[in-house]
Protein backbone atom coordinates (compact mmCIF):
# COMPACT_ATOMS: atom_id res chain seq x y z
CA UNK A 1 0.00 0.00 0.00
CA UNK A 2 1.59 3.23 -1.10
CA UNK A 3 0.16 6.37 0.41
CA UNK A 4 0.43 9.61 -1.52
CA UNK A 5 -0.02 13.19 -0.48
CA UNK A 6 -3.70 13.90 -0.79
CA UNK A 7 -5.24 16.07 -3.45
CA UNK A 8 -6.25 18.49 -0.72
CA UNK A 9 -2.61 18.94 0.28
CA UNK A 10 -1.59 19.64 -3.27
CA UNK A 11 -4.47 22.02 -3.80
CA UNK A 12 -3.44 23.99 -0.73
CA UNK A 13 -0.06 24.45 -2.28
CA UNK A 14 -1.47 25.34 -5.68
CA UNK A 15 -3.83 27.92 -4.21
CA UNK A 16 -1.29 29.69 -2.08
CA UNK A 17 1.60 29.54 -4.51
CA UNK A 18 4.55 27.34 -3.87
CA UNK A 19 7.20 29.61 -2.36
CA UNK A 20 6.81 29.99 1.36
CA UNK A 21 3.59 28.04 1.41
CA UNK A 22 4.95 24.71 2.53
CA UNK A 23 3.66 25.41 6.00
CA UNK A 24 0.11 24.94 4.81
CA UNK A 25 1.12 21.29 4.68
CA UNK A 26 2.30 21.27 8.26
CA UNK A 27 -0.55 22.67 10.31
CA UNK A 28 -1.62 26.21 10.88
CA UNK A 29 0.42 27.75 13.65
CA UNK A 30 3.86 27.58 12.13
CA UNK A 31 4.25 30.66 10.00
CA UNK A 32 6.42 32.22 12.67
CA UNK A 33 8.63 31.10 15.51
CA UNK A 34 6.39 29.35 18.02
CA UNK A 35 6.36 30.91 21.49
CA UNK A 36 4.58 27.97 23.05
CA UNK A 37 6.08 24.57 22.36
CA UNK A 38 4.07 21.90 24.15
CA UNK A 39 3.92 18.41 22.70
CA UNK A 40 1.74 15.63 24.09
CA UNK A 41 2.62 12.08 23.03
CA UNK A 42 0.01 9.34 23.32
CA UNK A 43 1.58 5.90 23.73
CA UNK A 44 4.94 4.87 25.17
CA UNK A 45 5.95 2.11 22.74
CA UNK A 46 8.78 2.21 20.21
CA UNK A 47 7.24 5.14 18.30
CA UNK A 48 5.96 7.33 21.12
CA UNK A 49 8.88 6.88 23.52
CA UNK A 50 11.45 7.52 20.76
CA UNK A 51 9.55 10.64 19.66
CA UNK A 52 9.35 11.96 23.24
CA UNK A 53 13.05 11.32 23.91
CA UNK A 54 14.25 12.82 20.64
CA UNK A 55 12.04 15.91 20.93
CA UNK A 56 13.75 16.67 24.24
CA UNK A 57 17.18 15.70 22.95
CA UNK A 58 16.95 17.80 19.78
CA UNK A 59 15.33 20.83 21.42
CA UNK A 60 15.29 21.05 25.24
CA UNK A 61 13.04 24.13 25.05
CA UNK A 62 10.13 21.91 23.99
CA UNK A 63 7.95 20.67 26.83
CA UNK A 64 6.97 17.03 26.31
CA UNK A 65 4.28 15.03 28.09
CA UNK A 66 4.01 11.28 27.44
CA UNK A 67 0.75 9.58 28.35
CA UNK A 68 1.06 5.80 28.75
CA UNK A 69 -1.06 3.69 31.11
CA UNK A 70 1.50 0.93 31.66
CA UNK A 71 4.29 1.58 34.18
CA UNK A 72 6.22 -1.32 32.64
CA UNK A 73 6.23 -1.77 28.90
CA UNK A 74 6.88 -5.26 27.48
CA UNK A 75 8.13 -5.30 23.90
CA UNK A 76 6.77 -7.52 21.17
CA UNK A 77 10.31 -7.89 19.77
CA UNK A 78 11.94 -10.75 21.71
CA UNK A 79 8.57 -11.86 23.14
CA UNK A 80 8.82 -14.90 20.86
CA UNK A 81 12.19 -15.61 22.50
CA UNK A 82 10.32 -15.74 25.82
CA UNK A 83 7.87 -18.27 24.35
CA UNK A 84 10.83 -20.37 23.23
CA UNK A 85 12.43 -20.22 26.69
CA UNK A 86 15.45 -18.18 25.53
CA UNK A 87 14.52 -15.00 27.42
CA UNK A 88 12.37 -14.05 30.41
CA UNK A 89 9.65 -11.41 30.72
CA UNK A 90 12.12 -9.35 32.75
CA UNK A 91 14.43 -9.24 29.71
CA UNK A 92 11.75 -7.53 27.61
CA UNK A 93 10.51 -5.10 30.29
CA UNK A 94 11.17 -1.37 30.07
CA UNK A 95 10.22 1.56 32.27
CA UNK A 96 10.06 5.32 31.78
CA UNK A 97 12.53 6.24 34.52
CA UNK A 98 15.28 7.45 32.19
CA UNK A 99 12.84 9.41 30.02
CA UNK A 100 11.60 11.14 33.18
CA UNK A 101 14.90 11.72 34.96
CA UNK A 102 17.43 12.21 32.19
CA UNK A 103 15.32 13.62 29.38
CA UNK A 104 12.81 15.47 31.58
CA UNK A 105 9.78 14.05 29.82
CA UNK A 106 6.64 14.49 31.89
CA UNK A 107 5.36 10.90 31.98
CA UNK A 108 1.76 10.44 33.06
CA UNK A 109 0.45 6.93 33.75
CA UNK A 110 -3.05 7.35 32.39
CA UNK A 111 -5.24 6.78 29.32
CA UNK A 112 -6.32 9.46 26.88
CA UNK A 113 -10.09 9.24 26.57
CA UNK A 114 -10.73 12.21 24.31
CA UNK A 115 -8.86 14.39 21.81
CA UNK A 116 -10.41 17.81 21.20
CA UNK A 117 -8.99 18.86 17.85
CA UNK A 118 -10.51 22.35 17.87
CA UNK A 119 -9.35 23.26 21.39
CA UNK A 120 -6.05 21.32 21.00
CA UNK A 121 -6.51 19.45 24.26
CA UNK A 122 -6.56 15.84 25.37
CA UNK A 123 -8.60 14.54 28.27
CA UNK A 124 -7.30 11.77 30.51
CA UNK A 125 -9.32 9.06 32.24
CA UNK A 126 -8.24 10.54 35.57
CA UNK A 127 -9.94 13.81 34.61
CA UNK A 128 -6.85 15.87 33.77
CA UNK A 129 -6.95 18.01 30.62
CA UNK A 130 -3.69 18.71 28.77
CA UNK A 131 -3.24 21.43 26.16
CA UNK A 132 -0.87 20.90 23.25
CA UNK A 133 0.64 22.82 20.37
CA UNK A 134 1.36 19.55 18.61
CA UNK A 135 0.11 16.06 19.39
CA UNK A 136 1.80 12.78 18.53
CA UNK A 137 -0.46 9.74 18.41
CA UNK A 138 1.36 6.40 18.64
CA UNK A 139 -1.15 3.86 19.95
CA UNK A 140 0.02 0.77 18.05
CA UNK A 141 -2.61 -1.68 16.90
CA UNK A 142 -6.08 -2.69 17.94
CA UNK A 143 -7.78 -5.95 17.00
CA UNK A 144 -10.83 -6.59 14.86
CA UNK A 145 -12.36 -8.91 17.46
CA UNK A 146 -15.34 -9.73 15.26
CA UNK A 147 -13.33 -10.71 12.17
CA UNK A 148 -13.82 -14.41 12.94
CA UNK A 149 -16.89 -15.97 14.59
CA UNK A 150 -16.29 -17.23 18.12
CA UNK A 151 -13.29 -15.03 18.90
CA UNK A 152 -13.41 -12.19 21.42
CA UNK A 153 -11.25 -10.36 23.89
CA UNK A 154 -12.39 -12.70 26.68
CA UNK A 155 -11.54 -15.77 24.57
CA UNK A 156 -8.11 -14.22 23.98
CA UNK A 157 -7.65 -13.66 27.71
CA UNK A 158 -8.70 -17.17 28.70
CA UNK A 159 -8.31 -19.88 26.05
CA UNK A 160 -6.77 -18.64 22.79
CA UNK A 161 -4.19 -15.91 23.37
CA UNK A 162 -3.10 -13.76 20.45
CA UNK A 163 0.13 -12.79 22.26
CA UNK A 164 0.47 -9.96 19.77
CA UNK A 165 0.64 -7.29 22.45
CA UNK A 166 3.37 -8.41 24.81
CA UNK A 167 2.61 -8.79 28.53
CA UNK A 168 -0.08 -10.97 30.13
CA UNK A 169 -0.89 -12.43 26.70
CA UNK A 170 2.72 -13.61 26.29
CA UNK A 171 2.66 -15.18 29.76
CA UNK A 172 -0.63 -16.98 29.05
CA UNK A 173 0.61 -18.52 25.80
CA UNK A 174 3.91 -19.46 27.43
CA UNK A 175 2.10 -21.23 30.30
CA UNK A 176 -0.13 -23.11 27.86
CA UNK A 177 2.92 -24.35 25.95
CA UNK A 178 4.63 -25.43 29.16
CA UNK A 179 1.52 -27.28 30.34
CA UNK A 180 0.95 -29.02 27.01
CA UNK A 181 1.50 -32.82 26.80
CA UNK A 182 4.23 -34.31 24.64
CA UNK A 183 2.63 -35.18 21.32
CA UNK A 184 0.34 -32.16 21.52
CA UNK A 185 -0.69 -29.96 18.62
CA UNK A 186 -0.14 -26.18 18.47
CA UNK A 187 -2.07 -24.03 16.01
CA UNK A 188 -0.75 -20.62 15.02
CA UNK A 189 -3.24 -18.56 13.03
CA UNK A 190 -1.70 -15.35 11.59
CA UNK A 191 -3.90 -12.56 10.21
CA UNK A 192 -4.15 -11.23 6.67
CA UNK A 193 -2.18 -8.16 5.56
CA UNK A 194 -1.50 -5.55 6.76
CA UNK A 195 -0.51 -6.51 10.29
CA UNK A 196 2.14 -5.72 12.89
CA UNK A 197 5.51 -7.47 12.48
CA UNK A 198 5.05 -9.50 9.26
CA UNK A 199 7.70 -12.14 10.18
CA UNK A 200 6.42 -12.40 13.79
CA UNK A 201 4.16 -15.46 13.52
CA UNK A 202 6.85 -17.44 11.69
CA UNK A 203 9.61 -16.58 14.15
CA UNK A 204 7.14 -17.65 16.82
CA UNK A 205 6.57 -21.02 15.12
CA UNK A 206 10.36 -21.48 14.92
CA UNK A 207 11.10 -20.75 18.58
CA UNK A 208 8.11 -22.73 19.87
CA UNK A 209 9.39 -25.62 17.74
CA UNK A 210 12.79 -25.18 19.39
CA UNK A 211 11.19 -25.52 22.81
CA UNK A 212 9.06 -28.50 21.78
CA UNK A 213 11.97 -30.30 20.10
CA UNK A 214 13.86 -30.21 23.37
CA UNK A 215 11.04 -30.91 25.81
CA UNK A 216 8.12 -32.45 23.89
CA UNK A 217 9.58 -33.84 20.67
CA UNK A 218 6.44 -35.72 19.54
CA UNK A 219 4.53 -32.44 19.26
CA UNK A 220 3.58 -30.60 16.11
CA UNK A 221 2.87 -27.03 14.98
CA UNK A 222 0.41 -26.17 12.21
CA UNK A 223 0.28 -22.64 10.84
CA UNK A 224 -3.15 -21.85 9.38
CA UNK A 225 -2.49 -18.80 7.22
CA UNK A 226 -5.04 -16.86 5.16
CA UNK A 227 -2.17 -15.62 2.97
CA UNK A 228 -0.47 -17.29 0.02
CA UNK A 229 3.00 -16.16 1.02
CA UNK A 230 4.73 -14.65 4.01
CA UNK A 231 7.74 -12.59 5.04
CA UNK A 232 11.18 -14.26 4.59
CA UNK A 233 9.31 -17.39 3.48
CA UNK A 234 12.18 -19.18 1.71
CA UNK A 235 14.55 -18.48 4.61
CA UNK A 236 12.05 -19.71 7.20
CA UNK A 237 11.19 -22.86 5.25
CA UNK A 238 14.84 -23.73 4.72
CA UNK A 239 15.51 -23.20 8.43
CA UNK A 240 12.52 -25.32 9.45
CA UNK A 241 13.71 -28.19 7.24
CA UNK A 242 17.19 -27.99 8.74
CA UNK A 243 16.29 -27.41 12.39
CA UNK A 244 12.84 -28.90 12.91
CA UNK A 245 12.16 -31.47 10.17
CA UNK A 246 8.50 -32.55 10.11
CA UNK A 247 7.51 -30.39 13.09
CA UNK A 248 6.11 -27.27 11.39
CA UNK A 249 3.42 -27.46 8.73
CA UNK A 250 2.36 -24.25 6.94
CA UNK A 251 -1.01 -24.23 5.17
CA UNK A 252 -1.72 -21.32 2.85
CA UNK A 253 -5.14 -19.77 2.33
CA UNK A 254 -5.73 -21.88 -0.77
CA UNK A 255 -4.72 -25.04 1.12
CA UNK A 256 -7.21 -24.70 3.96
CA UNK A 257 -5.37 -22.07 5.96
CA UNK A 258 -8.23 -19.60 6.13
CA UNK A 259 -9.94 -19.78 9.54
CA UNK A 260 -13.65 -18.94 9.45
CA UNK A 261 -14.65 -19.81 13.02
CA UNK A 262 -13.08 -20.64 16.36
CA UNK A 263 -14.60 -22.55 19.28
CA UNK A 264 -12.99 -22.03 22.68
CA UNK A 265 -15.17 -24.70 24.36
CA UNK A 266 -13.94 -27.52 22.10
CA UNK A 267 -10.53 -25.90 21.43
CA UNK A 268 -11.00 -26.08 17.68
CA UNK A 269 -10.98 -23.89 14.62
CA UNK A 270 -12.95 -24.27 11.42
CA UNK A 271 -11.37 -23.74 8.02
CA UNK A 272 -12.75 -24.14 4.52
CA UNK A 273 -11.32 -27.68 4.67
CA UNK A 274 -12.88 -28.75 7.97
CA UNK A 275 -12.42 -28.66 11.74
CA UNK A 276 -8.99 -28.67 13.36
CA UNK A 277 -8.62 -29.51 17.06
CA UNK A 278 -5.54 -28.52 19.02
CA UNK A 279 -4.01 -28.39 22.50
CA UNK A 280 -2.80 -24.80 22.15
CA UNK A 281 -4.37 -22.27 19.78
CA UNK A 282 -2.57 -18.98 19.13
CA UNK A 283 -5.12 -17.01 17.14
CA UNK A 284 -3.89 -13.60 15.93
CA UNK A 285 -6.86 -11.49 14.80
CA UNK A 286 -6.96 -9.02 11.93
CA UNK A 287 -5.81 -5.55 12.95
CA UNK A 288 -6.59 -1.85 12.71
CA UNK A 289 -5.25 1.40 14.15
CA UNK A 290 -5.33 1.86 17.92
CA UNK A 291 -8.63 2.95 19.48
CA UNK A 292 -7.69 6.57 20.21
CA UNK A 293 -6.86 7.06 16.50
CA UNK A 294 -10.46 6.15 15.66
CA UNK A 295 -11.90 8.23 18.52
CA UNK A 296 -9.92 11.27 17.36
CA UNK A 297 -11.12 10.83 13.77
CA UNK A 298 -7.62 10.21 12.42
CA UNK A 299 -8.43 7.03 10.45
CA UNK A 300 -9.65 6.64 6.89
CA UNK A 301 -11.70 3.88 5.24
CA UNK A 302 -8.76 1.45 5.52
CA UNK A 303 -8.87 1.57 9.32
CA UNK A 304 -5.40 3.18 9.45
CA UNK A 305 -4.23 6.82 9.57
CA UNK A 306 -3.18 8.76 6.45
CA UNK A 307 -0.21 11.07 7.07
CA UNK A 308 1.99 13.59 5.33
CA UNK A 309 5.15 11.55 4.68
CA UNK A 310 7.49 14.47 5.46
CA UNK A 311 6.37 15.03 9.04
CA UNK A 312 3.90 12.19 9.75
CA UNK A 313 1.31 14.89 10.35
CA UNK A 314 -2.24 13.68 9.85
CA UNK A 315 -3.74 14.69 6.52
CA UNK A 316 -7.10 14.81 8.32
CA UNK A 317 -6.24 16.90 11.41
CA UNK A 318 -3.36 19.40 11.13
CA UNK A 319 -1.12 19.64 14.17
CA UNK A 320 -1.60 15.96 15.03
CA UNK A 321 1.10 13.51 14.00
CA UNK A 322 0.48 9.76 13.77
CA UNK A 323 3.45 7.39 13.90
CA UNK A 324 4.03 3.66 14.17
CA UNK A 325 1.67 0.80 13.42
CA UNK A 326 -1.41 3.07 13.23
CA UNK A 327 0.00 5.21 10.41
CA UNK A 328 -0.09 4.53 6.70
CA UNK A 329 3.63 4.84 6.01
CA UNK A 330 3.87 3.91 2.35
CA UNK A 331 6.10 0.90 1.77
CA UNK A 332 7.24 0.60 5.39
CA UNK A 333 6.14 -2.45 7.38
CA UNK A 334 4.47 -2.14 10.77
CA UNK A 335 7.36 -2.84 13.12
CA UNK A 336 8.93 -1.48 16.28
CA UNK A 337 11.95 -0.46 14.24
CA UNK A 338 9.81 1.42 11.71
CA UNK A 339 7.84 3.10 14.52
CA UNK A 340 11.08 4.27 16.14
CA UNK A 341 12.37 5.60 12.83
CA UNK A 342 9.10 7.44 12.25
CA UNK A 343 9.13 8.81 15.81
CA UNK A 344 12.53 10.36 15.24
CA UNK A 345 11.52 11.80 11.84
CA UNK A 346 8.37 13.30 13.38
CA UNK A 347 10.38 14.71 16.31
CA UNK A 348 12.95 16.32 13.99
CA UNK A 349 10.14 17.74 11.82
CA UNK A 350 8.32 19.20 14.84
CA UNK A 351 11.53 20.85 16.05
CA UNK A 352 11.89 22.53 12.65
CA UNK A 353 8.24 23.53 12.49
CA UNK A 354 8.40 25.17 15.92
CA UNK A 355 11.37 27.17 14.59
CA UNK A 356 9.27 28.33 11.63
CA UNK A 357 11.37 26.24 9.24
CA UNK A 358 10.53 23.62 6.63
CA UNK A 359 11.34 20.10 7.86
CA UNK A 360 14.21 18.25 6.21
CA UNK A 361 13.36 15.49 3.78
CA UNK A 362 12.80 12.31 5.77
CA UNK A 363 15.00 9.24 5.62
CA UNK A 364 13.53 6.10 7.08
CA UNK A 365 14.83 2.64 7.72
CA UNK A 366 13.77 -0.77 8.95
CA UNK A 367 15.46 -4.02 9.88
CA UNK A 368 13.52 -7.03 11.11
CA UNK A 369 15.63 -9.77 12.64
CA UNK A 370 14.04 -13.15 13.22
CA UNK A 371 15.50 -15.93 15.31
CA UNK A 372 14.94 -19.55 14.28
CA UNK A 373 17.15 -21.03 16.99
CA UNK A 374 19.71 -19.72 19.47
CA UNK A 375 22.46 -19.46 16.84
CA UNK A 376 20.31 -19.14 13.75
CA UNK A 377 19.19 -15.65 12.78
CA UNK A 378 17.86 -14.10 9.57
CA UNK A 379 16.93 -10.55 8.65
CA UNK A 380 15.18 -8.31 6.17
CA UNK A 381 16.28 -4.70 5.80
CA UNK A 382 14.81 -1.71 3.97
CA UNK A 383 15.84 1.90 3.37
CA UNK A 384 13.02 4.28 2.49
CA UNK A 385 12.88 7.71 0.93
CA UNK A 386 10.31 10.29 -0.05
CA UNK A 387 9.31 10.58 -3.69
CA UNK A 388 6.25 12.00 -5.45
CA UNK A 389 4.71 8.56 -4.90
CA UNK A 390 5.11 8.90 -1.12
CA UNK A 391 7.46 6.78 1.00
CA UNK A 392 9.04 4.13 -1.22
CA UNK A 393 11.65 1.47 -0.61
CA UNK A 394 14.97 2.09 -2.35
CA UNK A 395 15.34 -0.85 -4.72
CA UNK A 396 19.13 -0.95 -4.76
CA UNK A 397 19.24 -1.30 -0.97
CA UNK A 398 17.79 -3.59 1.66
CA UNK A 399 16.76 -7.18 1.14
CA UNK A 400 17.13 -10.50 2.86
CA UNK A 401 19.81 -12.64 4.40
CA UNK A 402 21.17 -14.69 1.47
CA UNK A 403 19.46 -18.07 1.13
CA UNK A 404 22.89 -19.71 0.94
CA UNK A 405 24.22 -17.96 4.06
CA UNK A 406 26.62 -20.24 5.95
CA UNK A 407 26.36 -21.15 9.62
CA UNK A 408 28.78 -18.40 10.66
CA UNK A 409 26.62 -15.75 8.98
CA UNK A 410 23.44 -17.16 10.53
CA UNK A 411 25.10 -17.12 13.94
CA UNK A 412 26.28 -13.55 13.41
CA UNK A 413 22.75 -12.48 12.49
CA UNK A 414 21.48 -14.12 15.70
CA UNK A 415 24.05 -12.16 17.72
CA UNK A 416 23.17 -8.96 15.89
CA UNK A 417 19.47 -9.58 16.58
CA UNK A 418 20.18 -9.34 20.29
CA UNK A 419 22.65 -6.48 19.75
CA UNK A 420 19.98 -4.60 17.83
CA UNK A 421 17.43 -5.20 20.58
CA UNK A 422 19.74 -3.85 23.27
CA UNK A 423 20.53 -0.71 21.30
CA UNK A 424 17.03 0.11 20.11
CA UNK A 425 15.77 -0.39 23.66
CA UNK A 426 18.41 2.07 24.89
CA UNK A 427 17.62 4.42 21.99
CA UNK A 428 13.94 4.37 22.96
CA UNK A 429 13.64 4.07 26.75
CA UNK A 430 17.22 4.44 27.93
Amino acid sequence: MSHKLTRRDFNKLLLTGVAGSAFSLFGTSNTAFASSKRVVVIGGGFGGAAAAKYLRKLDPSISVTLVEPKAVFYTCPLSNWVLGGLKTMEDIAHTYTVLKNKYKVNVIADVVTDVDVTRSTVKLKGGQILGFDRLIVSPGIDFKWDSVAGYSESVANSKMPHAYQAGPQTILLHKQLQAMRDGGKVLICPPGNPFRCPPGPYERASLIAGYLKEHKPKSKIIILDPKEKFSKQALFKKGWDRLYPGMIEWRSGAMGGKVTKVDAATMSVTTEFGVENADVINFIPAQKAGKIAFDAGLTDATGWCPVNPVSFESTIHPGIHVIGDSSIAGAMPKSGFAASSQGKVAAAAIVRLFQGKVPAAPSLVNTCYSLLARNYGISVAGVYKLTVEGIVEIKEAGGLTPLDADDDQLKEEALFALGWYKNISMDTWG
Partner: protein, 127 residues
Protein backbone atom coordinates in the same frame (compact mmCIF):
# COMPACT_ATOMS: atom_id res chain seq x y z
CA UNK B 1 -4.73 10.97 -8.38
CA UNK B 2 -0.97 11.17 -8.21
CA UNK B 3 -0.94 10.54 -11.92
CA UNK B 4 -2.36 14.02 -12.65
CA UNK B 5 0.40 16.23 -14.02
CA UNK B 6 -0.44 19.30 -11.91
CA UNK B 7 -0.46 17.33 -8.69
CA UNK B 8 2.74 15.53 -9.55
CA UNK B 9 4.40 18.86 -10.27
CA UNK B 10 3.32 20.27 -6.92
CA UNK B 11 4.48 17.19 -5.08
CA UNK B 12 7.77 17.59 -6.86
CA UNK B 13 7.97 21.21 -5.72
CA UNK B 14 7.39 20.07 -2.13
CA UNK B 15 10.17 17.53 -2.50
CA UNK B 16 12.55 20.22 -3.72
CA UNK B 17 11.59 22.37 -0.77
CA UNK B 18 12.13 19.76 1.93
CA UNK B 19 15.37 18.57 0.38
CA UNK B 20 16.63 22.16 0.04
CA UNK B 21 15.49 22.99 3.58
CA UNK B 22 17.60 20.29 5.10
CA UNK B 23 20.70 20.64 3.02
CA UNK B 24 22.66 22.93 5.31
CA UNK B 25 22.88 24.11 8.87
CA UNK B 26 22.09 27.78 8.43
CA UNK B 27 19.98 27.84 5.31
CA UNK B 28 22.76 28.13 2.72
CA UNK B 29 23.85 25.22 0.59
CA UNK B 30 27.29 24.11 1.61
CA UNK B 31 29.32 21.31 3.10
CA UNK B 32 26.57 20.34 5.49
CA UNK B 33 28.55 21.30 8.55
CA UNK B 34 29.11 24.77 9.91
CA UNK B 35 30.55 26.15 13.09
CA UNK B 36 29.07 28.42 15.67
CA UNK B 37 30.93 29.99 18.55
CA UNK B 38 29.05 31.57 21.40
CA UNK B 39 30.71 33.83 23.93
CA UNK B 40 32.43 31.89 26.66
CA UNK B 41 31.70 28.51 25.10
CA UNK B 42 33.96 26.06 23.38
CA UNK B 43 33.39 26.01 19.66
CA UNK B 44 30.42 23.77 19.06
CA UNK B 45 29.94 22.31 15.61
CA UNK B 46 26.41 22.23 14.21
CA UNK B 47 25.41 19.52 11.78
CA UNK B 48 22.93 19.92 8.96
CA UNK B 49 19.25 19.00 9.43
CA UNK B 50 19.46 16.58 6.53
CA UNK B 51 22.56 14.95 8.00
CA UNK B 52 20.71 14.66 11.29
CA UNK B 53 17.65 13.04 9.70
CA UNK B 54 19.83 10.55 7.83
CA UNK B 55 21.91 9.77 10.91
CA UNK B 56 18.95 9.21 13.21
CA UNK B 57 18.28 6.03 11.21
CA UNK B 58 21.61 4.60 12.39
CA UNK B 59 20.98 4.86 16.12
CA UNK B 60 18.31 2.13 16.21
CA UNK B 61 21.07 -0.45 15.71
CA UNK B 62 24.18 1.46 16.80
CA UNK B 63 22.73 3.21 19.85
CA UNK B 64 21.91 6.82 20.72
CA UNK B 65 24.69 9.10 19.39
CA UNK B 66 26.27 5.94 17.96
CA UNK B 67 27.13 4.53 21.40
CA UNK B 68 26.45 0.79 21.27
CA UNK B 69 25.84 -1.25 24.41
CA UNK B 70 25.94 -4.67 22.74
CA UNK B 71 27.81 -6.61 20.10
CA UNK B 72 27.04 -4.15 17.28
CA UNK B 73 30.04 -1.83 16.78
CA UNK B 74 29.87 1.73 18.12
CA UNK B 75 29.99 4.61 15.65
CA UNK B 76 30.76 7.08 18.41
CA UNK B 77 34.30 8.36 18.67
CA UNK B 78 35.16 7.78 15.02
CA UNK B 79 36.20 10.60 12.73
CA UNK B 80 34.03 11.66 9.80
CA UNK B 81 36.71 10.52 7.35
CA UNK B 82 36.97 7.06 8.93
CA UNK B 83 33.20 6.63 8.86
CA UNK B 84 32.88 7.85 5.28
CA UNK B 85 35.52 5.36 4.12
CA UNK B 86 33.82 2.53 6.03
CA UNK B 87 30.34 3.38 4.72
CA UNK B 88 31.57 3.54 1.13
CA UNK B 89 33.34 0.19 1.55
CA UNK B 90 30.10 -1.36 2.84
CA UNK B 91 28.23 0.18 -0.08
CA UNK B 92 30.64 -1.21 -2.69
CA UNK B 93 30.87 -4.57 -0.95
CA UNK B 94 34.63 -4.18 -0.47
CA UNK B 95 34.08 -4.63 3.25
CA UNK B 96 32.22 -7.77 4.42
CA UNK B 97 29.05 -7.35 6.43
CA UNK B 98 25.85 -9.20 7.25
CA UNK B 99 23.51 -6.25 7.02
CA UNK B 100 25.49 -2.99 6.62
CA UNK B 101 25.91 -3.24 2.86
CA UNK B 102 22.16 -3.68 2.51
CA UNK B 103 21.76 -0.35 4.31
CA UNK B 104 24.69 1.56 2.78
CA UNK B 105 23.40 0.89 -0.74
CA UNK B 106 20.37 3.05 0.11
CA UNK B 107 22.36 6.27 0.23
CA UNK B 108 24.23 8.42 -2.28
CA UNK B 109 27.91 9.12 -1.64
CA UNK B 110 27.05 12.67 -0.54
CA UNK B 111 24.43 11.32 1.88
CA UNK B 112 27.01 8.91 3.31
CA UNK B 113 29.31 11.92 3.77
CA UNK B 114 26.54 13.80 5.64
CA UNK B 115 26.01 10.78 7.93
CA UNK B 116 29.76 10.50 8.55
CA UNK B 117 29.97 14.24 9.29
CA UNK B 118 27.04 14.04 11.69
CA UNK B 119 28.64 11.33 13.83
CA UNK B 120 32.07 12.93 13.51
CA UNK B 121 30.46 16.12 14.87
CA UNK B 122 28.69 14.30 17.72
CA UNK B 123 31.99 12.70 18.71
CA UNK B 124 33.71 16.10 18.51
CA UNK B 125 31.08 17.78 20.68
CA UNK B 126 31.09 14.97 23.25
CA UNK B 127 34.85 15.16 23.74
Amino acid sequence: MAGKPGIRLTAFALLLMVFAAGSSAQGGVGSGVSTQAKKGEARRVESSPRGQILALSCTSCHGTDGKSVGIIPSISGRSADYLETALKAFKSGARYSTVMSRHAKGYSDSELRLIAEYFGTVSHNNK
